[in-house]
């Protein structure tokens, strides 16, 4: 594919094309580069405006790296990340200089898993939320900024008076609300949410998930929702991409993926999810052998073959590519596709 905004559909907000993000590994006495972790290794997907794309997979498969790559918190080794700006321009985020990236940053924000370490403990909550405003709208008057902060706090279910308080005075769920308010300060089009509810208690998770859905509706937000809890991802996402060792192995509508998973990894992942209903007669669990191999010793061909119940010798030869199995549903496994 070429970097040509002509084939960038009008109904696309983000188009990630064959992105690779490799971390160099340094070692030895002179800390020379001795290898690389192929954390993201040829990932492609698109996200439509107003949509939530869920990104799931076991830890270490590259979800966070992919999310950080989109806002360039890590260097992208190869590929393109096309993004449609508010003004209609399509930009390739990979090629952008730091200066040119800054205004785009305002349109793509990130919220993090850990509501404890992602907020500066010495800053008041008001200052934390106002910080992106001072970066992106430096001319904004103090009074206007305070007004914005109060408005944002109320939008996330807190009160304007809480702007003077410090993070330690808030519970985990409230801190995550502060993180969301900060992300919304610049009125982004897209929010990358990296495990936003994983650290929260069950009774608080539902509150934050509902809040994110309300805000999506009100502001027309687009989410890349990264999580390892498949039940929550299924609930909040329109489509889901399943990652394994740096690659997407299946992508499709959330309901389809949940009800009719095709890739053996997706099937295994879903069958491992416990359900809160002891009266369910569940089909025999598909227990995967072993663990995810280290990305430093990524198997040749299909990276999942070492744990795959369907693996054949041919799987060691070639890296499978995503192929359509239905409208909007793609799977990277020639074996299931052949067997039907």
């Amino acid at each position: 594919m070429v970097n040509d905004s002509a084939d960038f559909g009008v109904d696309t907000l983000l188009d990630v094309r064959n992105v690779k993000i490799h971390y160099p590994i340094h070692g030895g006495v002179f800390l020379r580069r001795i290898g690389e972790v192929k954390a993201v290794d040829g990932v492609s997907f698109t996200v439509k405006p107003g949509e939530t794309l869920g990104l799931v997979g076991e830890s270490g498969c590259g979800k966070t790296t992919m999310g950080k790559g989109v806002i360039r918190l890590v260097d992208v080794t190869d590929g393109e990340i096309l993004f449609r700006r508010k003004n209609g321009d399509v930009v390739d985020l990979v090629g952008l200089e730091r200066q040119a990236m800054r205004p785009v940053r305002a349109e793509i924000q990130m919220i993090f898993q850990d509501p404890y370490s992602s907020l500066n403990p010495r800053w008041s909550v008001g200052d934390i939320i106002a910080e992106p405003l001072s970066v992106h709208s430096p001319d904004m008057k103090r009074a206007e900024r305070d007004e914005q902060v109060a408005w944002l706090l109320e939008k996330v279910g807190l009160t304007g008076e809480q702007a003077d308080r410090y993070p330690h005075e808030f519970s985990g769920g409230q801190r995550q609300r502060v993180g969301i308010a900060r992300a919304l300060a610049t009125r982004p089009r897209m929010v990358i949410a990296d495990e936003p509810v994983s650290a929260l208690d069950v009774s608080i998770q539902a509150q934050v998930v509902n809040l994110m859905q309300d805000l999506q509706e009100e502001f027309g937000l687009t989410y890349l929702f990264i999580a390892h809890d498949l039940s929550i991802v299924e609930h909040i996402s329109h489509r889901i991409a399943v990652m394994y060792l740096g690659n997407i192995v299946e992508i499709g509508p959330a309901r389809t993926l949940y009800e009719e998973p095709v890739h053996p990894y997706t099937r295994a992942l879903l069958s491992a999810v416990p359900l809160p209903d002891p009266s369910l007669e569940r089909p025999e669990r598909m227990v995967l052998k072993g663990e995810v191999p280290s990305p430093l010793a990524k198997p040749s061909g299909c990276p999942f073959r070492t744990r795959c119940p369907l693996a054949e010798p041919s799987c060691a030869e070639e890296m499978p590519v995503l192929q359509a199995v239905a409208m909007d549903h793609e799977v990277a496994c020639p074996i299931v596709l052949r067997k039907g």
């Binding site: 409230q174 069950v202 009774s203 539902a206 039940s231 609930h235 416990p274 809160p276 227990v287 663990e291």
Partner: protein
């Protein structure tokens, strides 16, 4: 077998474990009572800070003092009150009768000794046998928990194992003593679902092969309870709010808190809800617990007396206990 024929292995009676924090008393465990029968998997479920770990550490008599102390209560194991035992006697119980696995296995494994050494020591402490016999038994245990090439892996140090493998090694270690009771405190919380499924299955399988220990499984995850436990206690604010057979709990949760928890879970296996039900508010701080029902401030059906008077844990129907003024076993106390 009816309930009363079964033998009680562990009986907790009105256990209170307090911490002195900045000149005040934090009642982390505040009058907890439950029984664990022989041969059962008993779940203790609750949100963070509800007092689950302090309960389990109290049973093991591992509460750090200061700042903590077991204020009162009884912990009867096979009829004997563990709180009456000397430290030496208690150490013997921990080596032989009650073993524990933790969320983070590195806290229990000693980083300077090989896995094999630690397994062998445990085995030899428990059953006087030769070094070679202990080595064989250790190999067998590692094999049983699904670690490939077990004889060679015995020579590894804990840091050479992945998180999932360490958890397996810890299960091997805990069950090699053939304990009567295995306490597992969030054994899979740090692991991926695929590994969690392996570990839970393994724990139940290995238990069967090593003398049918009862298990006290501590978790915040109701789905894990649904899939592994026979009976369950729901904890909130340092107190048990409900005790029930697992099937009954999920079918008709009695306590408004349990009802709220269950209905706030996404259920991908069911018709999709556009919005999740939520429990309003936040978990109260242990330093400022309300005098009445600990859940009253978040309960949609709370009455004035709920804020004022702490309800008793009452047996509502045979085998089902609930701490709520409004629950009567005839549909009263429906909140969600």
């Amino acid at each position: 077998m009816s309930r009363d024929d079964r033998q009680k292995l562990l009986e907790l009676r009105d256990l209170r474990t307090y911490f002195d924090v900045e000149g005040r008393t934090a009642k982390a465990v505040d009058g907890v009572s439950f029984d664990i029968y022989t041969n059962e998997v008993f779940g203790l479920v609750g949100e963070s800070g509800s007092g689950k770990s302090v309960t389990s550490l109290s049973i093991m008599r591992l509460i750090p003092n200061p700042p903590g102390r077991i204020e009162s209560g009884e912990i009867r194991f096979r009829g004997q009150n563990l709180l009456d035992l000397s430290f030496a006697e208690m150490r013997k119980i921990r080596g032989n009768d009650i073993s524990m696995i933790f969320q983070e296995p590195m806290t229990a494994l000693n980083p300077v000794f090989t896995i094999g050494y630690q397994l062998r020591e445990g085995i030899r402490y428990h059953s006087k046998c030769s070094k070679a016999e202990a080595e064989d038994r250790a190999t067998e245990m590692l094999d049983l928990v699904g670690i490939p090439d077990p004889r060679r892996r015995l020579k590894d140090y804990p840091h050479q194992f992945s998180g999932g493998m360490r958890q397996r090694a810890m299960i091997a270690m805990a069950l090699s003593m053939e304990p009567g009771l295995l306490i597992a405190d969030e054994p899979t919380t740090a692991l991926d679902v695929t590994i969690q499924a392996q570990i839970l299955e393994l724990m139940l399988k290995v238990r069967e092969k090593t003398g049918d220990a009862s298990i006290l499984l501590i978790t915040h995850d109701l789905a894990v309870v649904a899939e592994t436990c026979d009976r369950v206690a729901v904890m909130y604010g340092g107190k048990i709010q409900e005790i029930s057979e697992v099937k009954a709990l999920f079918k008709t949760p009695l306590h408004p808190y349990t009802q709220g928890l269950l209905s706030s879970l996404p259920r991908p296996d069911k018709q999709k809800k556009t919005r999740l039900d939520t429990i309003p508010g936040i978990v109260p701080s242990i330093m400022s617990m309300p005098p009445g029902c600990k859940f009253a401030a978040r309960c949609p059906i709370a009455e004035p007396r709920c804020e004022r008077d702490e309800p008793e844990l009452r047996e509502i129907t045979p085998g089902r206990f609930c701490r709520c003024h409004l629950v009567d076993g005839k549909g009263g106390g429906r909140a969600w």
